[in-house]
Symmetry: C2
Subunit: 343 residues, 2 copies
Amino acid sequence: MLSERPLDDRKLAVLRAIVQDYVGTEEPVGSKALVERHSLGVSPATVRNDMAALEEEGYIHQPHTSAGRIPTDKGYRLFVDRLAEVKPMSAPERRAIRHFLDGAVDLDDTVARTVRLLAQLTRQVAVVQYPSLSRSTVRHVELVALAPAKVMLVLITNTGRVEQRMVDCPGTVGETVLADLRARLNARAGGQRLPDVPALLEDLPAAFEAPDRPTVTTVLATLFETLAEQNEERIMLAGTANLTRFGHDFPLTIQPVLEALEEQVVLLRLLGETPDAGVTVRIGRENDYEGLNSTSVVSVGYGSGDESVAKLGVIGPTRMDYPGTMGAVRAVARYVGQILAES
Amino acid sequence: MLSERPLDDRKLAVLRAIVQDYVGTEEPVGSKALVERHSLGVSPATVRNDMAALEEEGYIHQPHTSAGRIPTDKGYRLFVDRLAEVKPMSAPERRAIRHFLDGAVDLDDTVARTVRLLAQLTRQVAVVQYPSLSRSTVRHVELVALAPAKVMLVLITNTGRVEQRMVDCPGTVGETVLADLRARLNARAGGQRLPDVPALLEDLPAAFEAPDRPTVTTVLATLFETLAEQNEERIMLAGTANLTRFGHDFPLTIQPVLEALEEQVVLLRLLGETPDAGVTVRIGRENDYEGLNSTSVVSVGYGSGDESVAKLGVIGPTRMDYPGTMGAVRAVARYVGQILAES
DNA sequence: CCTGGCACTCTGCCTTCCTGAGTGCCAGAA
DNA sequence: TTCTGGCACTCAGGAAGGCAGAGTGCCAGG
């Protein structure tokens, strides 16, 4: 078995044509139809031989003896890696994206608009992760006395995210102590990356009078807890209705997909595996999660600087328009990054 | 046509039995099966006569000449209004609900847990509206100077909701002015219902020195804007995967439902029509929104006191277990209310 | 007013048949 | 070698026909 015999150019062209046609028509594509729709310069019989070779190598597959071919996961993989160019968005599309995202009033709104936009552009299911706490820095820490022994702690990050927690203090908290603590917190933690903060504040209680130390310790504990709560990472979804578009073959598998989409944990892990740079495509079985074995995930990191603070992506059938989807994902990520940097 | 002839007790019993069986089996129910499974004390032939009468009145309907009967929307309506008791949760169920909701750390988490819980209990799609701004009161307003001319406004409500906005001030803002403004804002607005706040603060700029007034006005403007932003009402969804359970007949209609669920506006209007008190059931065509014409919505208001601050509910096929669903919805609403009151 | 009996209707399912798309292979041409 | 036209073969999927079973409406008798 010549399993690693390199494929010549024409075979690659045939594979490309098969992927393109199958994505378009959703039906197995035969040799005759291929020759008609693409000017390959050879006869159907020749194409058939190439197809046999491609099948031998596992790039395509026949549902039934007398049917056309459809690409396998491996075929899509080769297509994405070597046969397709990311399709850039057109100028009007870019303007539209820009304009749509510019209208956002706060972080929630930005994320909400992004996810809807992505779902519309790709006509698939879109997923956007909120800018992660661990990558961002402290913009401000605020303490608000709500009752004699009750303080509200508000943490604001450079990505615009706001987390708040109630703190039940061991005793009454004086306004001056609170002001002092607030000032020190901001002086030391301001601008620092969240994971670095605890180390910087460790010795803070020592700076206060003994009676106030329990309070300071309690507040710090809550703050650290908030910082550490990685699992608070949130995700927004849109476009689930698009799943129904993949009619014929998909309804059987729509349920596990919907289930996966409901599991924030699954989605977070999915996005978590995306490397920071570059558009990533994970095809079919390449996804660890079983329910997504018949889908592909196109994802990318986005961030306010050149640094990625979170991920976003699209989930659709393995039979998807990869160049278009990748283009859309990349463009949207870029613009969200810009918006975040501006705000 | 004796269209308003009152139905005697046995006919009602037959209707009740039909609804129960159909909900259980998902198949049209015939006279023979009915008599076997319910002790009606009469023969199939008699039941057939009753069925004919019920059909005449529009409570049930035959898909085909030689098939059993299924309830119509009108039939379900009668069932819900007169033939069914809300099924209370069992003690273990109540404990589980209580326990599950008690673990929540903040409002987001409470809502998230509620919606998941409801989806699991009813095995349908659950919807929970965040406590609405307009019904709640101001717990605290905080102003934080982030830069010389940049202030962050944080609004905290009694329901635990936190809204923040950036304010770009016309000039540099002194810390004393800010403290003064903060104190006055809280003194006047604290504990007040959100819609009443603007009127109470109208004359506030007059209390400040002329040079500071533009700043005060700007901050107030942003605050009012935040208060007025009704459309910021948010909704959380869970259990969409349950839609696929309604296999045979439903997949055709699953798409419009998914689309409806993506439209926050539709959901908000849906919940908005729910009266404050009591569990409401809207069946099939009774729903204004076309995509939900083959679904029923069971909803109820919940709140921290005896007052409803938001709504929650369940969306499922008209063929649903009404008593059970109503019981679950009512119980969950009650417990969320308690949790909110405690926090 | 209820019941058993009976003739009737129709869906769902199974089987059979047939067409058409698509294939693999082979012998001959470039 | 590599491509091409020809040919026999396979098989999914739709159409047509037939059958069984569930359910009905109606009627005459208890």
